[in-house]
């Protein structure tokens, strides 16, 4: 090497060659700066804590609607008529090797997922107790939604990028975790110290615009919902349910609603006309029966013409889920879709009720909580409280329907005060005496109040009452007129559905050992009852 360098030195080019050598040797050192271009310029790696919030709040209101397309068929809120056959979901089945029904799974683990972990850490470090409270509430909402739909879920091992197979946790654990998280949420949302700041939270919180006290009420509401699911358990404490409801929403003004800006596909209401996701869906005979007087002694619900869709001949009919397609109904007798049209209508025309682009989609409502209170009080034996909560539930839901139908200038006219008063005075709907109140009434009116949006809770109610339990008080089914489809999906083995299978492209492909441990690979796994609905 020495002789080589000496030779260089003798040539006229020595400086240049020396420069090259020095350059080559110095390369690695200089490389570091030059190579430091691997920070993704298309997005930041960390952002201020509140910027994580909007996609999660979007999920809070929207995600349930995606799986609602399917749960809505289990619960016979709607039916998808097709020629000569029935869809798998209308037969209480599922779509094999499809992610249909897996949106909650996706969004709890992915949209919340690491984002929520990061937001929680930041909010905690920056002492933003209000945002931290919202974070705990979101986490609780995720597990509550997921376990109510899927039963056993991944909780303890979740959100860990170093693992590639995950063990499932029991629903019992998931429920207790939801309670723990909601208590943490309540604890933090009560705080006013630290960096609690309504303006900071309100910058991205388009549900309550940063109002900590309303988030606090929502946390109590979610706690009430959770505790009220224990009706079949010995642990059921109706007094605690009522106490939680009392600390939550006090009027429709507290409703947790998300407004959709409607500027592009993803920020338009999933039920909206522009999205067109419900073109093929039609109302069932069951839901029409609850509102057209079939069940409740001729009391025609004024909400029917504001929520449901008439056929072109103006009559409100529901489809029989055991008859393929529209059956014998003529074209003018076939109910329109929920937007109010026989076919996919023009984009600029008005929609109906929640089927409008910019409607404010509920996450939880005052009416819903009043029905939860009514059921708990009824079970506690406090029938007077039950009746007043029940009446308040119907009344506030009528207001809710009117409010929603004006969110986006939908076509139905508002329910007048007179119509409302007449309806509430009908004893087939609201009994004069508290002693006459039945579970059938409470649960049916709760079903109406949650129809089209509260899918998980509707399904939970139905599963808690085995779909077709008889209420001894009324002598009718708790959900009168409901009957499982006669032609069940082949894999069901004759059993009715109790859960949705975990997301196919997450679990059935990549976490089969985890599923196997809970019996999830069985063909009829979706008919296995969930823990909370079992005595």
């Amino acid at each position: 090497m020495t002789s080589l360098t000496q030779r260089f030195a003798r040539t006229p080019m020595k400086r240049a060659l020396t420069a090259l050598f020095v350059g080559a040797l110095a390369l690695p050192a200089g490389c570091e700066d030059f190579l430091d271009v691997n920070t993704n310029p298309n997005g930041p790696e960390k952002v201020t804590a509140n910027l994580y919030l909007p996609p999660m709040l979007h999920a809070l209101a929207t995600t349930p609607q995606l799986d609602g397309r399917f749960i809505g068929r289990y619960t016979q809120q709607w039916y998808v008529p097709i020629a000569g056959a029935f869809t798998t979901w209308d037969r209480m089945g599922y779509d094999p090797s499809s992610d249909n029904g897996g949106q909650v799974w996706r969004d709890v683990y992915f949209v919340l997922g690491q984002n929520l972990v990061d937001m929680t850490e930041l909010a905690n470090a920056e002492e933003r107790w209000d945002l931290l409270g919202v974070a705990y509430l979101l986490k609780a909402w995720g597990w509550q939604s997921a376990t109510d739909i899927y039963g056993e879920i991944i909780v303890k091992e979740a959100i860990d990028q170093s693992k590639f197979s995950f063990n499932y946790d029991s629903q019992e654990y998931a429920y207790s975790e939801v309670q723990r998280l909601l208590n943490l949420a309540i604890e933090n949302l009560k705080r006013t110290d630290g960096a609690v700041n309504a303006a900071y939270l309100g910058r991205t919180d388009k549900v309550y615009n940063g109002d900590r006290t309303k988030w606090l009420k929502l946390a109590y509401g979610m706690l009430a919902l959770n505790l009220n699911h224990y009706t079949r358990k010995a642990l059921y404490r109706p007094a605690e349910v009522i106490a939680a409801v009392n600390q939550s929403f006090t009027s429709n003004a507290d409703d947790a609603l998300l407004a959709y800006p409607g500027t592009q596909n993803d920020d338009i209401n999933f039920l909206g006309r522009t999205r067109g996701n419900f073109n093929g869906y039609r109302q069932t005979r069951f839901v029409v029966g609850l509102m057209d007087g079939t069940v409740f002694e001729g009391a025609v619900d004024p909400r029917m013409s504001r929520m449901l869709s008439p056929a072109p001949d103006g009559v409100y009919r529901g489809l029989d889920i055991n008859v393929a397609n529209f059956g014998a109904l003529t074209t003018t007798q076939q109910p329109n879709n929920f937007y109010g049209y026989a076919l996919a209508g023009g984009l600029q025309l008005p929609g109906r009720y929640l089927w409008a682009d910019k409607v404010r989609m509920p996450i939880m409502t005052y009416a819903q909580l009043q029905f939860i209170k009514a059921e708990a009080a009824y079970r506690l034996g406090d029938l007077a409280t039950a009746l007043s909560a029940y009446r308040e539930g119907i009344s506030s839901h009528i207001d809710f329907v009117n409010a929603r139908n004006t969110d986006n200038a939908q076509s139905p006219l508002p329910i007048t005060a007179a119509e409302k008063a007449t309806f509430l005075a009908n004893t087939a709907i609201v009994p004069a005496a508290a002693s006459a109140l039945s579970l059938t009434q409470i649960m049916s009116q709760k079903y109406i109040a949650q129809w089209a949006w509260g899918h998980s809770e509707i399904w939970m109610d139905m599963r808690r009452y085995n779909y077709t339990d008889i209420d001894p008080k009324s002598g009718m089914q708790v959900f009168p007129g409901f009957a499982p489809p006669t032609l069940l999906f082949p894999d069901n083995g004759g059993k009715i559905v109790h859960r949705i299978r975990p997301r196919f492209n997450s679990e059935y492909v990549w976490n089969r050992p985890g599923l196997d441990a809970i019996g999830g690979l069985a063909l009829d796994y979706h008919t296995k009852p969930i823990w909370i609905t079992q005595p």
Binding site: A16, G23, G30, Y109, I159, Q264, L347, P490, S506
Partner: protein
């Protein structure tokens, strides 16, 4: 920092240079062959310098040299000769055609030339003229069959379709398997824009193309084949050893044409071509649509009653295709000074390519310049520039493409009548407007896939020869282009365009790749009498950058006005990608007795895409060549031969930003940030490939027969799999993980023969044989399967790979079969009599890898007439005929004509006894016409056609050289060329060479998945060439 360093280096080389003075004189002479035939274009170079010249058309040369210097006379295909300058002032040289191809001069890595005998690895050279004569606008398409081990798959037969090229099979499960393109020693971008760059393809969007519905050209299409002098395919490990990590899949080294002394002047050539579609798709016209409501069909299903006698049918299918007209014009002006101190070439080319599909075409203009000058005795400067402008219009492909619409359209309706009197889409079904598949004419007239690209590649090189034993060469290259895409999906077009009331995409990809390379070459140095050594060292610094600005407009105001300004809802998206590389490398060649060569290489790369602590990696290579017929002259009397062996490793990096996720702006309500699909992997490390290769080159009968055999094995370990899935329990959907392993093995053989060689009549044969195998050995974290999601484009079949399967396997929801060894009977649903299908993606034994391929070129010369034909043979390899599955499910395939025939599907009932010794054979009679599930639920598996073979006449050219001086031309010839004139294949579809995706998709991609793709057309071209 680094830039300054490079500049300093360059400045240094300029400033320090000073002329070397010595006694010089001018030597002139003539170079001839076969006695008196002058040889033009022979390079006459002073050994150990860049100083040199070339002979003119009369074979004359003139060069200044010192007494004692050695002059080399080299011409590709001839044995080089050296002469030492003595007292004489003229040197006449007689060059012999290489008795052995081993002595032929070839281009090797880094733009160096060497004698073939040196090479320890397999490489093959293709003459630019052979590619250019095929008249294909994308030179990649001219390579199939010309090189053993190279496989070219064009996406479709539409002008501007992307072509993927792989050398020695597929080894990367998810990344690119394409070789590095080198032009004049520097890297050339051959990107096919991924549709993921479009704003309409933003993660989670419903308007995504996912590389299925559209195709963009691979950017090698910007190069005019007429500008290529030679093209060398480096197949194996040596490519990577010297070209670095991007050449892990081999390299294609293009040398562009230069001016030569004497041959200068103007040259004009043209080519007029017509193309016709090769074979029309066939659909049944026995059974009418399933039902009608008034004049309208209920659906595009054809399970109805037989057509009434006397029904009028329109020949929509063959009426749709048109005869394409294309033309090419090439004008060049080139030359060099007599002493070759200055050479230049300027070329202008125009290429207007028509299509057999209405409204598709491609237009390209190329302006090329290359000049070199010997500035002083020790300084040589070289400047080249390729400028191209290209515009391309394509039809949509796949589900929303015109082919599917064409096949679905009822033959009782005239498809040409596609508009209502009001100018809107004429509807013929009662289906919702978003579910009625587009009329094919509507599809091509109202939708647009347009690309406008302008590109400039400039390469500036300086070579310094300060001393006789070394030279220093520095090149700086800029490869930059602007690629503007405009995609319009008309508001009335079925599917998502209709849902969104029209979708318009604008995307501009601004690419700027800069590379600086410095090479220090040490000339051959005699260590002892028999041992000599030569070497080189160098470094390369690259900066690759792409900035795609995308705009998505939806909801058209005026349905027919094309502009983003006409859209009601707009979103934009910017994707900036940057990757930098720094490399240092060295090579030493030991030569013993001119018959044993050992080459040792080492390279270290530093990449920006791997975490800093692991971003530096070194890899070595050793190759050796043993010319045994020179070592043992007794054998050498009868033949020439050499043995080769090579071993090399190569590292490879990840794609940019692969290990730490960034947050994405979310388009859900009220914006905000959230993670993208891909999770973090801070432990990401480079992947490594280890290759072994051995082979032999043999020549017999004065080299009239030559045989080149190669066997190789490559193992890629710790392979990075992009976008592999896992449980969402991780918090993410996709990961970029190390841990896959693949093994590629193969055998290549090239046979050259000249069975006849007489004055005025000769016949040459070149046969290239390849057999390649790629196997997946492992997947990261023992995950069961990995697939590239874009390939899940039709039904439930995708390019899934599992350990033990081929790297080009297909997985799907295939039929369930019994588990008894050797039985594999289908399981039948006891209630319906129809087969049961898996609900998970399983292996069905399908492999798209051919058993072998052969490219056979025959060249016959008779006096002034030359005929050259390339036949392409393939044996084996599966192709998924998704189009046929689609037609079957709609009752349009001829295989549904027996729909009224009762049949029992062979298999066993799934009644609990299916896996016992006594299963219940299926005895349930099914009549497909009645049981609609027979066709609608039919597994795609039945349409994966096994062992597809073909014989394809890729191209044939007959050229007639006009005797005398026609039109006073120095050189005049006429030619007729045919491309893809025939394909004999057992494939039932239109063309087995298709890609359901585009060349942008990684891994094995969508090649061999045929859905709604147009075949390569049959072309006939005539042209002439005049040289002045």
């Amino acid at each position: 920092m680094m830039k300054k360093r490079v500049l300093a280096l360059l400045m240094g080389t300029f400033l320090c240079a000073s002329p070397v003075l010595a006694q010089q004189k001018t030597v002139t002479g003539k170079v001839t062959r076969d006695g008196a035939v002058p040889l033009s274009g022979v390079s006459v170079v002073l050994r150990g310098s860049t100083q040199g010249t070339q002979t003119n058309t009369n074979g004359d040369y003139s060069i200044r040299a010192d007494v004692g210097q050695v002059v080399q006379f080299r011409l590709i295909g001839y044995v080089p000769i050296e002469r030492t300058i003595g007292a004489e002032n003229t040197i006449f040289v007689q060059l012999e055609k290489t008795a052995s191809s081993l002595n032929a001069v070839v281009v090797t890595a880094l733009g160096e030339t060497t004698q073939r005998r040196n090479l320890g690895t397999s490489q093959q050279t293709v003459q630019g003229a052979d590619i250019a004569q095929t008249g294909r606008e994308n030179f990649i398409n001219g390579l199939q069959g010309r090189v053993a081990g190279v496989e070219v798959i064009s996406t479709s037969g539409v002008p501007g379709a992307s072509s993927s090229i792989t050398i020695r099979g597929v080894s990367s499960i998810s990344g690119s398997n394409q070789p590095l393109m080198i032009i004049d020693g520097m890297p050339m971008d051959n990107k096919t824009l991924n549709s993921g760059a479009l704003a309409s393809d933003a993660p989670g969007s419903l308007t995504a193309f996912s590389n299925r519905g559209i195709d963009f050209s691979n950017r090698a299409i910007d190069i005019n084949p007429e500008d290529i002098e030679t093209l060398v395919v480096l197949k194996g490990p040596e490519a990577a050893a010297l070209y670095g990590i991007d050449a892990g899949n081999g390299a294609i080294v293009i040398t562009t044409k230069r001016g030569k002394p004497g041959t200068g002047g103007f040259e004009y050539s043209n080519r007029l071509r017509i193309d016709q579609t090769r074979g029309n798709p066939v659909v049944q016209n026995t059974y009418a649509p399933s039902g009608t409501t008034g004049d309208l069909l209920n659906a595009f299903s054809y399970f109805g009653a037989p057509y009434a006698a006397g029904t009028t049918f329109y020949d929509n299918v063959s009426g749709f295709f048109q005869t394409a007209q294309s033309q090419q014009h090439n004008l060049s002006f080139s030359g060099a000074t007599q002493d070759s101190r200055i050479n230049y070439r300027l070329a202008l080319a125009a290429n207007a390519q028509g299509s057999v599909i209405p409204e598709s075409d491609l237009n390209r203009i190329n302006l090329t310049g290359r000049t070199g000058a010997q500035v002083t005795r020790w300084l040589n400067a070289d400047l080249s520039a390729q400028y191209s402008v290209l515009e391309n219009d394509q039809a949509l492909k796949g589900t929303n493409g015109p082919l599917i619409g064409l096949l679905l359209w009822p033959q009782t309706d005239d498809a040409r009548d596609y508009l209502t009197p009001a100018g809107t889409r004429r509807r013929i079904t009662v289906l919702a407007s978003n579910s009625e598949t587009d009329n094919p004419y509507f599809s091509v007239n109202k939708n647009r896939v347009n690309a406008k690209t302008s590109r400039l590649i400039t390469n500036f090189g300086l070579t310094l020869t300060p001393v006789k034993w070394a030279s220093l060469k520095t090149n700086i290259q800029s490869d930059g282009y602007t690629d503007e895409k405009l995609i319009v999906r008309h508001p009335e077009s079925a599917g998502v365009p209709n849902d969104n009331n029209g979708i318009l995409d604008n995307a501009t990809d601004v690419v700027r790749n800069l590379t600086a390379q410095t090479l220090l070459t040490f000339n051959r140095k005699q260590l002892t009498k028999n041992i000599s050594v030569s070497g080189l060292g160098g470094n390369q610094i690259s900066d690759f950058r792409s900035n795609v600005s995308g705009l998505l407009g939806r909801d058209f105001l005026d349905p027919n006005f094309v502009s983003a300004n006409n859209t009601n809802v707009r979103t934009n998206r910017t994707i900036l990608t940057q990757r930098r590389l720094v490399s240092a490398y060295a090579q030493a060649v030991l030569n013993y007795h001119d018959y044993l060569y050992v080459t040792v290489t080492g390279r270290n790369d530093w990449t920006s895409t791997i975490p800093t602590e692991r971003n530096s990696f070194f890899y070595p290579g050793v190759t050796s060549s043993f010319v045994f017929t020179d070592a043992f002259p007794t054998i050498g009397k009868f033949m020439t031969g050499k043995l080769r062996a090579a071993y090399a490793e190569v590292g490879n990096d990840a794609r940019p930003y692969a290990y730490r996720p960034a947050l994405e702006f979310k388009t859900t309500s009220n914006g905000g940030y959230g993670y993208g699909f891909t999770g973090p992997n801070l432990a990401l490390r480079p992947e490594f490939a280890t290759s072994y290769e051995t082979g032999t080159e043999l020549g017999f009968f004065d080299d009239r027969i030559g045989l080149d055999l190669t066997v190789y094995r490559k193992e890629k370990t710790d392979q990075i799999v992009n976008d592999i899935r896992g449980s969402y329990g991780t918090g993410f959907i996709l990961f970029n993980l190390n841990g896959a392993a693949t093994r590629n093995e193969g055998f290549e053989a090239t046979l050259r023969a000249t069975p006849i060689e007489q004055r005025g009549f000769s016949w040459d044969v070149l046969a290239n044989f390849e057999r390649a195998r790629g196997t997946v050995l492992a997947l990261p974290n023992a995950l069961p399967e990995s697939y590239v999601s874009d390939t899940w484009l039709y039904g439930n079949v995708r390019n899934g790979v599992q350990p033990g399967l081929s790297t080009r396997a297909l997985t799907g929801l295939f039929y369930l079969r019994d588990t008894i060894a050797g039985s594999r009977k289908m399981l039948i649903d006891p209630t319906t009599g129809l087969p049961l299908r898996s609900t998970a993606f399983i292996d069905g034994g399908y492999d798209r890898q051919p058993d072998f391929t052969v490219g056979l070129t025959n060249t016959v010369r008779f006096r002034n007439l030359t005929m050259s034909a390339l036949l392409d043979f393939r044996k084996g390899g599966d192709v998924f005929n998704a189009t046929e599955h689609f037609l079957t499910s709609r009752g349009l395939s001829n295989r549904t004509l027996d729909r009224n025939t009762p049949r029992v599907i062979e298999g066993v009932l799934r009644d609990g006894r299916e896996n016992t010794a006594n299963p219940t054979p299926n005895n349930i009679v099914v009549v497909p016409a009645v049981q609609t599930g027979f066709y609608s639920g039919i597994s795609e598996e039945l349409f994966i056609e096994k062992d597809i073979n073909w014989v394809r006449l890729r191209d044939v050219t007959v050229r007639y050289t006009l005797p005398g001086r026609y039109f006073k031309a120095r050189d005049a010839s006429m030619y007729i060329t045919g491309t893809d004139l025939f394909v004999y294949s057992n494939y039932s579809g239109l063309d087995p060479i298709v890609n359901g995706n585009t060349a942008a998709v990684g891994g094995s991609g969508g090649a061999g998945i045929d859905f709604g793709n147009f075949p390569m057309p049959r072309g006939y071209a005539v042209g002439f060439k005049l040289g002045y």
